[in-house]
């Protein structure tokens, strides 16, 4: 990625893009999604593609613009799913932004603020998907993108415990889960659920073949529900596992689980309140992982109680084990 570039420490957020051809503060540019390249006068223009999803109509238009402005005719898919147009001359910023705006394509942002959310395909078309991650990413982009924070603030949405969107490495991550419930009369004792369960949370009774379920081992992936031929395993509830304080980079930190089965409609509150806590407690340049370490997870959980309250208890044990 491009983070070797000097961070903007001056808190100037919005860069004027019109008529800026002559005087340009290169530090300011990064906040507007323009990233300086090694090559003289050359910048990468990072587009805003929440969840990495684009309509083909838009993609066609973007490719025309990229073809016109990239001096080397190349684009790059960023690690956070957004399309980057490489080798753009900074003197063309006004023009390229105007052209992108015309097709409804916004430029992303870097620096100390809420970044473009990433997401897997989610339940719309991925058979493993349990939550509509794309819908959530779109919501976060509309509601929170660009909100100033002490340092960068990355969010992501995974639709299932395979966690392709790496919620464990996010400042705030949401991973889809489903709680299975078993209906004995519909069960034929075929043992497929025990075969399908990769976590050994279901074993078959040696006599009847019926499942013996261990919720402590269950990671709530829903494989049993999907494998069951007679619908004896059903979904009781869907939701998100919420993880906070993860990061990658030079010193990766694994996020801690702070909530299970948070329903879709509570996700905006969870983000809102997390940003509140982060802004109130974080020093400039500190990721939320560092703040949690310095101030303590308990302080965060207390602040989050109105949102997590009813859904958190299952994880109090886990967080205590993690040395809160």
């Amino acid at each position: 990625m491009t983070d070797h570039f000097v961070e903007d420490k001056t808190n100037k957020v919005n860069v004027k893009l019109e008529g800026m051809a002559e005087k340009v503060n290169f530090n300011d540019l990064k906040t507007g999604g323009f990233i300086k390249q090694r090559q003289k006068d050359m910048f990468t223009v990072r587009l805003r593609c929440p969840g990495g999803r684009l309509s083909t109509d838009k993609l066609v238009e973007i490719s025309k613009i990229a073809h016109k402005y990239s001096k080397k005719s190349v684009v790059h898919f960023s690690f956070r799913q957004s399309l980057e147009i490489l080798y753009v001359d900074y003197k063309e910023f006004g023009n390229i932004v105007a052209e992108l705006e015309k097709i409804g394509q916004k430029v992303a942002s870097c620096g100390p603020r809420v970044r473009v959310p990433t997401a897997c395909g989610g339940c719309e078309y991925n058979p493993n998907g349990l939550t509509d991650t794309q819908k959530m990413a779109d919501m976060v982009d509309k509601k929170f993108f660009g909100t100033p924070t002490p340092h960068k603030f990355k969010t992501s949405f995974s639709g299932c415990p395979i966690d392709c969107a790496r919620t464990k490495e996010m400042d705030l991550g949401f991973q889809g889960v489903v709680e299975p419930v078993w209906d004995e009369p519909s069960c034929t004792g075929c043992t497929i659920c025990a075969e399908a369960c990769k976590e050994d949370a279901i074993v078959s009774d040696p006599d009847t073949g019926k499942p013996i379920f261990d919720p402590k081992k269950c990671i709530f992936c829903g494989d049993c529900i999907r494998a069951c031929p007679t619908e004896a395993w059903k979904a009781k509830r869907y939701g998100h596992i919420v993880r906070v304080g993860g990061k990658h980079g030079r010193h990766p930190v694994e996020a801690i689980e702070v909530c299970a089965f948070l329903p879709d409609e509570k996700v905006p509150d969870a983000i809102q309140k997390s940003i509140e806590w982060y802004n109130a407690n974080g020093k400039r340049g500190e990721r939320i992982a560092t703040v949690l370490k310095r101030v303590g997870v308990r302080s965060y959980l207390d602040h989050m109680a109105p949102v997590f309250g009813a859904v958190a208890p299952a994880f109090a044990e886990t967080t205590d084990k993690q040395g809160v």
């Binding site: 058979p127 034929t188 004792g189 399908a196 999907r226």
Partner: protein
């Protein structure tokens, strides 16, 4: 498993023991496509990945799994073709 279940008769059989994912599912799909709605296909699937994946894919395609029997190291399934 109930005692007095009528014996399900298969219209065709596909032995997929030793066939890997996702080839086993593709073969199942092709076989079912050549059958009539309501006909029953008998499937033999290895334990492990094949039985974890093929039945749920078959279900997602709209077919019904009528019966599953665990045998030595593999499963025997009866699948009724849906619409």
């Amino acid at each position: 498993m109930s005692d007095a279940k009528p014996v399900i008769k298969a219209d065709a059989t596909l032995d997929l023991r030793g066939v890997m994912c996702p080839i086993n599912f593709v073969k199942t799909k092709l076989k079912i496509e050549a059958m009539e709605t309501g006909q029953v296909l008998e499937l033999l699937l290895d334990s492990g990945e094949p039985v974890q994946n093929v039945p749920k894919s078959v279900k997602e395609e709209g077919h019904k799994i009528l019966e599953v029997k665990k045998e030595d190291g593999h499963f025997r399934l009866m699948v009724k073709k849906g619409c």
